[in-house]
């Protein structure tokens, strides 16, 4: 696949928190309809990479391109407006707003008022519409956050640790959602759940101490034992 077709191309990316460098010359790409996973230990720089792509961190050097448009220096809200949505790790929703109001916020921003796909993926949200998001369980919050992010059918979804602390049944549900979503949206998933990664990812980047240590592509290479080496 040529680089020009890629939804996202990250080249020689360096990111630092003050004096402390977090990413070193990271090269990374995501093609259309691909599910790309980032694995690595805590502190490897996975979340930093996502935040940088989403516009919440400014890189020290390097480039982040999406369909020939540089994302470096663009405000986070504008990047979201370009169809690159970020689902953070913290599972913090707008707790004082109802599920419906949370989705309305997503709808208004993306000008997509059709919630059919959201409620098909997460039927439970239908019965929780009038509940304040602060009273949702961790899994329900994750459903809401992903549901809100997929409104407007983004071209790229950045998801940080989506299954952390969730029940296995919800993890299974998310796996199917990610698979189905990838038919129209490319995904970058930061995840430590290797069975999930191996089940859905088309490509895996292994990070360690801010560096890409390996790129695994194809179902033959993407196996838990190959990924485990980097955890």
């Amino acid at each position: 696949m040529s680089g020009g077709d890629d939804i996202l191309t990250v080249s020689a990316l360096n990111v630092a928190y003050g004096e402390s460098k977090a990413l070193f010359d990271v090269n990374f790409r995501v093609g259309p309809n691909e599910i790309v996973a980032c694995v690595g230990r805590n502190g490897a720089g996975k979340s930093t990479l996502l935040k940088c792509i989403a516009g919440f961190l400014k890189p020290a050097s390097g480039s982040i391109m999406s369909n020939a448009t540089s994302l470096v220096g663009i405000a986070a809200y504008a990047i979201a407006g370009m169809g690159i949505k970020y689902v953070p790790q913290d599972k913090k929703v707008f707790s004082d707003l109802t599920v419906r109001e949370n989705l309305e916020l997503g709808s208004y921003a993306s000008k997509d008022y059709d919630w059919t796909q959201v409620t098909e993926y997460f039927p439970k949200l239908k019965v929780l519409m009038d509940r304040k998001a602060g009273f949702l369980s961790g899994g329900e919050r994750q459903m809401l956050m992903i549901g809100r992010a997929i409104l407007g059918r983004p071209k790229l979804l950045l998801v940080d640790e989506p299954t952390e602390g969730l029940a296995p049944s919800i993890v299974g549900q998310l796996r199917e959602v990610f698979r189905d979503l990838s038919k129209g949206t490319a995904l970058v998933i930061v995840e430590q759940n290797l069975p999930l990664v191996c089940a859905i990812a088309n490509r895996v980047y292994a990070l360690n101490e801010g560096r890409i240590m390996a790129e695994l592509a194809g179902h033959e290479s993407i196996k838990p034992e190959n990924c485990e080496r980097y955890l």
Partner: protein, 327 residues
């Protein structure tokens, strides 16, 4: 059904305020109405956007002095004076807002206080030739009578203030129920989360700033018409905390908190000042008590109790009926 509930709560509130006129002296009722409108902007900033402002007297003074200059130097129509006060409020908010809303909440509070101090000294010293300094501008006799509602008559002014209050509260209630209202609350809770969705926090805050301070300027212009007099005391730094106190007293972020807070504050000031030299001391202790009791304020505490008492039967999915922020 929701529309009916929406309107009935407003109609009932303002009907009760109209009844207030029967039980309290007219100046007291007028003061409550103006103070309520003065506070509602502060309540919106604090309760919705999470910005505490100790500079509301600055915007009150902008509205009051804009109207006062018109009455003293140019014209006599009270409605035109109020309109000029509102336009001045929009102008000043748009001039300083782009700079102020970039600041963190604590610095925002202080920079607004600084603006109040600057305007105070400008009106008292720098522009003394046109403001007459501490003596103020007197223009009560300049005001002309107007048809339908004659604002030079205190009783008709009260009706006007009630109507203006109704429109203002309907507008804020409407804002609460819009996506923009949810965005404001989202900006208060976590601005990063709004950015994930594609919203620009700066624009949200700037619009909130202009709306809130224009409402405050409206109160200032009404104050000028009602009293027929404006002096730098209106923007005195010693009164900078008044709207914040009334907001907390009534219940931060609640729709009717500013009205309840204004009644409580003005009432205590009126009653206590007759028997106590240092009536502010009581307010101070009351604020400490409110903070320790859960920060809900008078209306924030009463509203759920009243809803419980008046609800005939619990509706299914009742949690969803409570609007954003419990307003």
């Amino acid at each position: 059904m929701n529309v009916l509930r929406w309107w009935w709560s407003l109609v009932l509130t303002f009907a009760l305020l109209a009844l207030l006129r029967v039980f309290v002296p007219l100046p007291f009722a007028n003061e409550i109405m103006i103070f309520s409108i003065y506070t509602v902007g502060c309540n919106f900033l604090l309760g919705r956007v999470g910005f505490i402002s100790f500079g509301q007297p600055a915007y009150l003074a902008v509205g009051a002095y804009a109207a006062a200059f018109y009455f003293y130097y140019f014209g006599t129509n009270p409605y035109v004076g109020i309109l000029i006060g509102v336009v001045a409020g929009i102008g000043v908010s748009l001039a300083v807002g782009p700079l102020f809303v970039r600041l963190r909440s604590d610095y925002f509070a202080l920079v607004n206080l600084a603006l109040a101090v600057i305007i105070y000294y400008f009106m008292q010293k720098v522009l003394v030739d046109i403001t007459h300094g501490d003596n103020g501008l007197w223009f009560l006799t300049n005001l002309s009578s107007t048809p339908v509602l004659d604002l030079t008559r205190p009783d008709e002014f009260f009706v006007f203030a009630l109507l203006v209050g109704f429109v203002v509260w309907a507008f804020y209630k409407y804002l609460d129920d819009t996506i923009y209202g949810a965005c404001c609350l989202g900006s208060k809770i976590n601005e990063d989360k709004l950015k994930f969705l594609g919203y620009n926090n700066y624009s949200i805050r700037l619009v909130a700033f202009v709306i809130a301070n224009t409402t405050t300027a409206l109160a200032g212009a009404m104050y000028a018409v009602y009293l027929g007099f404006v002096s730098p005391e209106i923007t005195s730094p010693t009164r900078a905390a008044d709207p914040v106190i009334v907001t907390i007293l009534g219940g931060v972020g609640t729709l009717y908190g500013p009205i309840v807070g204004a009644i409580a504050y003005t009432g205590m000031k009126d009653v206590l000042s007759k028997v106590l030299g240092n009536w502010e001391l009581v307010i101070g202790f009351l604020l400490v008590f409110i903070m320790l009791a859960g920060e809900k304020g008078i209306w924030g505490t009463l509203e759920p109790l009243l809803l419980k008492a008046f609800r005939r039967a619990p509706a299914p999915g009742a949690a969803g009926e409570s609007k954003v922020g419990g307003r």
